[in-house]
Structures are given as structure tokens and as C-alpha cells.
């Protein structure tokens, strides 16, 4: 039962709840103007700026006919006067029926959910969790592949620090996937996630070159390889081009292949890929609005 439940971590939702969100997101996509939250107030608290996620959530709330209160930068709030997160949440939970929050510190959303009278939707807590991103990724996979079961998924780039890939692994574990991890040695998938996959009997392979896997997968999930993650800049210079996707590499890929990316993109997907019908990242971002409508509507019990 999703109603009145906080969404802090992707593991808070069961398989059935994930499927329910995906089904609802499809329903909102078919009919995006369902004013189910007329006259209701939702708080959007962004303790650190995030244009993309904030606009997506606020668009979702507006499409549902709800009103938004909040802030987009903690510098404009009492946080700068030393107010604790606890006090801010206690106060706002008296005003709004649901709180969407982004915070730079890890665990902030879980803590807020313990202090709040109303449900919390985590829109990112540091490097920890960003569950609405995971759900929109899954909605995108379901929409483009017609199923979530038995997909072959390649994850490319920064698999060490990328929270989106970690959450996606956990959530997809319900659906018997096969994973292909493509990363430079410095940014390999951490052992704790590989142990998780082994414990769940989910097959995975590790590669350094995406050409080795690109022709056999259904989903190519690209992430950014950030220069600042490397202790050795020479190593960065050596490997960086190996994690850039060019249109020419897509020639013999499967017809159903779709390329996903949580965005923002820097140079890891060459712009010549954008016009390829297999490029799906901008549509994926649009799917985020429907997914967030589904999350909010189901938590508030209006759908």
C-alpha cells in the first residue's frame, strides 16, 4: 500500500508497488491533465539547487492541479540562520500534505521522514538515493521494451560513484535482468553491489570496452565519467574516450536497443547520436514528469 508512505529509498517499494507506479505513469502520459490535487498544497524543499529534478517535480504537481510552496536554494531560508533540518521539517509538515525534498547530506530524507507528519518524497540525498530517478528509468525501460523481465542491460561509465546505477541494480533485481558493467578500473562497480547480485542469483559481466557488449543488449545506460573522480589524471586522459558513445558504434546493435542517460550529459554521448531513433534520453526526462505524477498521486491516495 503506497498511500501515506514516504519514498526515501528505492528499497522502500515492493515489486508490486514499483509496477503500480509504472502503470500509473503510463496512465498519466496518456492523459497528463488530471487535476486530482485541486486545492491541495505540496512542499518542494530544495536545500541544494537542482534545476532539472525540481522543475520535473513541480511540473508534475502543477499538472495534477496542486499548489507548490517551498524554496529552490537553502541560502534563502532559515537554514542559514542555523535552523536544524528537524525544525524546518516540523514546521513545513504543518503546512503541506506532502514534502518533496533534496538535501546535500546523505540520510537527510530518512531522518526527515521520521520527523514529518506527512510523507516525504526523496528527490536526492547527497550520493545516497534518488528513487524517483530509478522509477522513471524503469518506466522508460518498460515503455521501450514492453516488459521489465529478462532485459539485458549495459551500464557504462562511472559505476563506482553513480547512485542511479546502484539504485537501478537493486530495483531491477525483481525482474531477472542480466547486467554488463563497462567501466575503467578506477570506477568499477563496488563489491557490495556485486555481492548483492550474486546473493540474488543475477548474472553480470564486467568489461572495459563497451564495443564488447553493445550489440547484445536491450538497454544501454550511459553515465558521466567525471575527471575529478580520478586520482591520476593521466589515467583519465587514457580512458576517457573509451566511454564515449558515437553514432557509428550503433550500426549493428539490436533494433530494440534504447540509450538511456540520467542527464546532464557532457560529452559521453556524442551529439551525432541524438537524432538516432535509439537515443531515448530526452524522452526519458519527459517520462520523469509522468512518473513523479504517479508517485505523488499514489502517496496522496488520489489515484
Amino acid at each position: 500500500m503506497i498511500k501515506n508512505k514516504s519514498l526515501v529509498s528505492i528499497t522502500d517499494f515492493t515489486k508490486d508497488e514499483i509496477l503500480r507506479i509504472i502503470e500509473l505513469a503510463a496512465d498519466f502520459e496518456a492523459d497528463p491533465n488530471q487535476r486530482l490535487l485541486e486545492g491541495r498544497i505540496i512542499a518542494s524543499l530544495f536545500f541544494e539547487p537542482s534545476t532539472r529534478t525540481r522543475l520535473s517535480f513541480e511540473t508534475a504537481i502543477n499538472r495534477l492541479g496542486g499548489r507548490v510552496i517551498g524554496f529552490s536554494d537553502a541560502n534563502a531560508t532559515s537554514t542559514t540562520k542555523g535552523e536544524t533540518l528537524k525544525d524546518t521539517i516540523k514546521m513545513v509538515s504543518n503546512y503541506a500534505e506532502l514534502i518533496v525534498m533534496r538535501h546535500p547530506l546523505e540520510g537527510a530524507a530518512r531522518y526527515a521522514s521520521e520527523q514529518s507528519r506527512v510523507p516525504i518524497v526523496n528527490a536526492g540525498d547527497g550520493a545516497n538515493q534518488h528513487p524517483s530517478q530509478t522509477l522513471l528509468d524503469m518506466f522508460s525501460m518498460h515503455k521501450t521494451q514492453g516488459r521489465l523481465d529478462n532485459l539485458k542491460i549495459a551500464m557504462v561509465g562511472d559505476l563506482k560513484y553513480g547512485r542511479t546505477v546502484h539504485s537501478l541494480i537493486q530495483a531491477m533485481s525483481h525482474f531477472s535482468p542480466t547486467f554488463y558493467f563497462v567501466a575503467p578500473d578506477e570506477l568499477k562497480m563496488p563489491n557490495e553491489y556485486k555481492d548483492f547480485l550474486r546473493a540474488h542469483g543475477i548474472p553480470f559481466e564486467e568489461h572495459r570496452d563497451m564495443n564488447e557488449v553493445i550489440d547484445k543488449v536491450d538497454i544501454l545506460y550511459m553515465t558521466r565519467v567525471q575527471k575529478e573522480r580520478f586520482s591520476d589524471l593521466l589515467e583519465y586522459q587514457r580512458v576517457k574516450d573509451a566511454y564515449i558513445l558515437h553514432n557509428s558504434m550503433l550500426e549493428s546493435t539490436r533494433p530494440n536497443l534504447r540509450i538511456l542517460h540520467p542527464l546532464p550529459r557532457v560529452n559521453e554521448i556524442s551529439t551525432d547520436v541524438d537524432s538516432n531513433p535509439k537515443a531515448y534520453y530526452f524522452k526519458q526526462a519527459e517520462n520523469g514528469v509522468y512518473t513523479r505524477m504517479a508517485i505523488i498521486a499514489s502517496i496522496l491516495g488520489v489515484k
Binding site: S9, T84, L85, K86, H103, P104, L105, E106, G107, A108, R110, Y111, D125, G126, A127, N128, Q129, E192
Partner: protein, 155 residues
């Protein structure tokens, strides 16, 4: 320890109470702090850097007229996993107990993650014990795992 026959008694005996033995010498003050022994009115005696075949150097604490609940004493398992308790009544050991790592650790340990909310606001830490040997504590908040090596006891 407490071997009267060998004339090795280095800490005076108690009539009633609890003797906590086999504490690693370097963790004596952590145990005292975890059990809050600095704040109780009971007579507390301790010895440290005592010879131990198991630990090299060990500490021992004797608390007069105090009998610990399991939940209370299990807290010290984080810093003294091999600790043994002797329950003393009328100078006799009437019961021996070992400590067990609990399934949840509330307070006591600091989350190792500098970006965890618990290190920035006054929040009681809360961990699920993911593994007892070696010790791995998963933070309820940031979801990161603090290992035995990274573990720091909150003063």
C-alpha cells in the same frame, strides 16, 4: 584472573556485583563510557594492562552491587567482543555470561560517513548489524556500512 590460589589477585574482590573480564586493555575507557560507569554511585574498581593469554594485555572492571541487563551489557560487545561476566554473590561466582553483538546498535557508534546527516545534526545514530564477525554496521540514515576498522565510539 581473580585466581586467589596463584596469589595473582591484582584488583580487590567484591562481595556482590559484576566482574567484567577480558576487556582489551586499550578499550577499557570505552567500556566505562558505554556503560556509563563514570556516572554511577556504585563502587567501581578496575585494572588495566593485566597479562592475558588471550588478549596480551587486558583490563578488568568490578562493579559492586550492580547486575547488568543483557541489552545493556551487549553494548560493550562492539569494543570487547570476548568480554566475560562473572556475577558475584557473597564473594562467590554464581553465574558466568558472555556478551553478544546485538542486531541493532543505537547510539554508541559514530557513522563513518562524513556526509551522513547524523554527523551534522544532533541525531542518535542507528545501525542494523549486517555482520557480527567481522563487525559491519549499516546506517539507517545514509545506508553506508561502517566496518570494525572505521568504528569510532561516541563519547
Amino acid at each position: 584472573m581473580c585466581n586467589v590460589n596463584n596469589k595473582e589477585l591484582k584488583v580487590s574482590a567484591i562481595k556482590n556485583g559484576t566482574v567484567i573480564d577480558h576487556i582489551p586493555a586499550e578499550n577499557l575507557f570505552k567500556v566505562i563510557s558505554i556503560l556509563g560507569l563514570e556516572n554511577i554511585p556504585n563502587q567501581v574498581t578496575f585494572g588495566t594492562n593485566l597479562e592475558s593469554r588471550k588478549l596480551g594485555r587486558k583490563s578488568i572492571i568490578k562493579v559492586a552491587d550492580k547486575f547488568f541487563e543483557d541489552a545493556e551489557i551487549n553494548k560493550i560487545s562492539l569494543v570487547a567482543p570476548q568480554a566475560k561476566l562473572n556475577i558475584i554473590r557473597d564473594y562467590e561466582v554464581v553465574e558466568k555470561r558472555v556478551v553478544n553483538v546485538p542486531d541493532e546498535v543505537v547510539g554508541i557508534v559514530k557513522c563513518f560517513n562524513p556526509k551522513c546527516i547524523t554527523n551534522h545534526e544532533p541525531i542518535v545514530t542507528h545501525f542494523a548489524v549486517q555482520s557480527k564477525q567481522p563487525l559491519e554496521l549499516k546506517c539507517r540514515y545514509c545506508e553506508k556500512v561502517t566496518t570494525e576498522k572505521q568504528m569510532e565510539i561516541i563519547k
